[in-house]
Symmetry: C2
Subunit: 176 residues, 2 copies
């Protein structure tokens, strides 16, 4: 096991500002490009990250502490942010992600005592028993997967522009 | 074609600051983990990015302007940074990357007039004719590929820690 609360929090506390640096002030083309029909652009990924802060990670941790494996936690709709109607700028979204993440890290530290709760288990509707430390690990890796997604989506925009170098650029290799 | 000088520079000027924020102050475990024998950790990726600033992108652009397709440009050793002996901290490396990138963006703007040079061609030792705009596009996508690499390498560290969620985390899917 590599997980520690402290090191997982290092990732969680860096992601919003990292993405804010990277995505603020970019031209529209970078923010709205995607990988084709049904795929997300950078702006939609930020919506999804905010949605996870509000409805996934902390609520599930609290649910585990309260219910244990007694009841499976409610399903999280990974696509609900796509139904949002309100228009916000990228800057507003990045700021919201920063705020809600900072609040959630503070709550996490209050809620979870690493000396006590890490092995506590809840019941995932699809997987069955899951541990508190697995959920927190996943929260951190979920940040990493979406940072990777954002840069991959942006790279796709220059797929033909790079000419023959496409061969050297791992990020443009199609997964089979 | 999606490439414009202005938008490519948007990526180039954000990468050092983005990585500086993400990687500064991380625990040793995050900075030194890799994907196994012969793979790079985050610190080695920064070395590679600095090496590219010194010996790849700008020198090749200057070479194209001077030589055209007359002579192939010198090969770039993508592994030379692994032979470096001197010890620098992550913070020092990130600062160096910021400095050299800022200098190179300034030089790029002086060297390349988008109204004149983008279609000029040089000769790549492996690919043959390549255009100035393809080289600059590649420079930007090269940043994106290495940001993706850094977060993928870090995610790998928690592969078993995430438990059953491994199934939902795209970044942990092995490429075949």
């Amino acid at each position: 096991m590599n997980f520690t609360m402290k090191e997982a929090i290092e990732i969680l506390e860096r992601t919003p500002q990292t993405l804010a640096f990277f995505l603020s002030g970019l031209s529209e083309g970078w923010v709205t490009c995607n990988e084709g029909e049904g795929t997300w652009n950078a702006s939609e990924v930020i919506d999804h990250l905010i949605e996870g802060e509000n409805n996934n990670w902390l609520p599930r941790l609290a649910f585990i502490l309260q219910e244990g494996e007694g009841r499976p936690f409610p399903r999280f709709d990974r696509y609900s942010h796509l139904n949002q109607k309100e228009e916000r700028t990228m800057e507003q979204k990045l700021q919201e992600f920063k705020n809600v993440r900072a609040q959630n890290i503070a709550k996490l530290k209050t809620l979870i005592d690493p000396a006590v709760h890490l092995e506590w288990t809840g019941s995932h509707p699809a997987f069955g028993p899951v541990k508190v430390r697995e959920l927190i690990s996943t929260w951190a890796v979920h940040d990493l997967t979406h940072i990777a997604q954002i840069v991959r989506v942006m790279a796709e925009r220059y797929r033909t522009d790079v000419g023959p170098w496409v061969e050297y650029l791992g990020i443009l290799k199609k997964r089979s």
